[in-house]
Symmetry: C2
Subunit: 156 residues, 2 copies
């Protein structure tokens, strides 16, 4: 019974997280919301940098930097920042997460895994290939972002 409780508690903390078991949870609700908003803003910056490169003059080093940042964040257990109690907390601003993210954990995990897969591939392509290949893979990452936003982010 005690073990079951511990397992349930562990599950509650692992929204979006494939491997958060036994990991340290830090911060209050408002810290977690600020951190997740910061991580998504950093991903937005990185996507913007890659977009500017595939649309304009291509700088492989800049694209690689941005793709590596996306990959690191995609694999950095951002799901741990969606712990219970953060559903309506304010970070830098009011959270834009739909309640569905906290109830449809399977859907959220699936959407995130899809993004992480495409981001991993983008980092590989950025390091090894040319602008055309990056543009194609960048489109797939964008689709994965959109798929998750459509389901789990409030329109604004």
């Amino acid at each position: 019974m005690q073990l079951k409780k511990i397992m349930l508690a562990t599950c509650a903390f692992s929204v979006l997280a494939v491997s958060a078991a036994h990991s340290q949870t830090i911060g209050k609700a408002e810290d977690q919301v600020r951190w997740r908003q910061s991580a998504f803003s950093t991903m937005g910056w990185s996507m913007g940098r890659i977009k500017a490169n595939v649309s304009g003059t291509y700088n492989k080093e800049q694209v690689t930097q941005a793709a590596n940042t996306l990959q690191a964040l995609a694999n950095s257990d951002i799901g741990s920042l969606f712990a219970p109690g953060t559903e309506s907390a304010k970070g830098w601003k009011k959270t834009e997460v739909k309640p569905a993210l906290f109830t449809d954990k399977e859907g959220a995990n699936k959407a995130w895994a899809s993004f992480a897969k495409e981001a991993d591939e983008l980092a590989k392509v950025a390091a090894a290939s040319d602008a055309a290949a990056v543009k194609t893979q960048f489109g797939k990452v964008g689709q994965a972002c959109k798929g998750c936003h459509d389901k789990f982010r409030v329109e604004h």
Copy 2:
């Protein structure tokens, strides 16, 4: 003369950046400040995660995730987000950067390079070593952060 102007403009955009030549600059001043505040907040989150692990139960996967995020950001040309015109702009909040960062470019580049070196090493140590080795290298990263904050960040 025209070339000289272009070179000067390129230099002006490469505060802190070792290799920003010819890279795309995106965003307005307020976007850049929000992005840099987000990147530093994401680094703060990652440092907090590692601290919790070296002070408590150690989870190698979580430490590796956080160290990889620090490394990616340390090498992601965050200096490009300190372009002229962002000295007093507001992002999520008023910028905390001291004017010195925009005048002492050599000092800023040196401080950032020191952080990037220690962050690169931390990512290696996190992947290959144990909690004790990570704790030591984590201390070095923290010192590099502090060295830069003391010089270039307003006390708060």
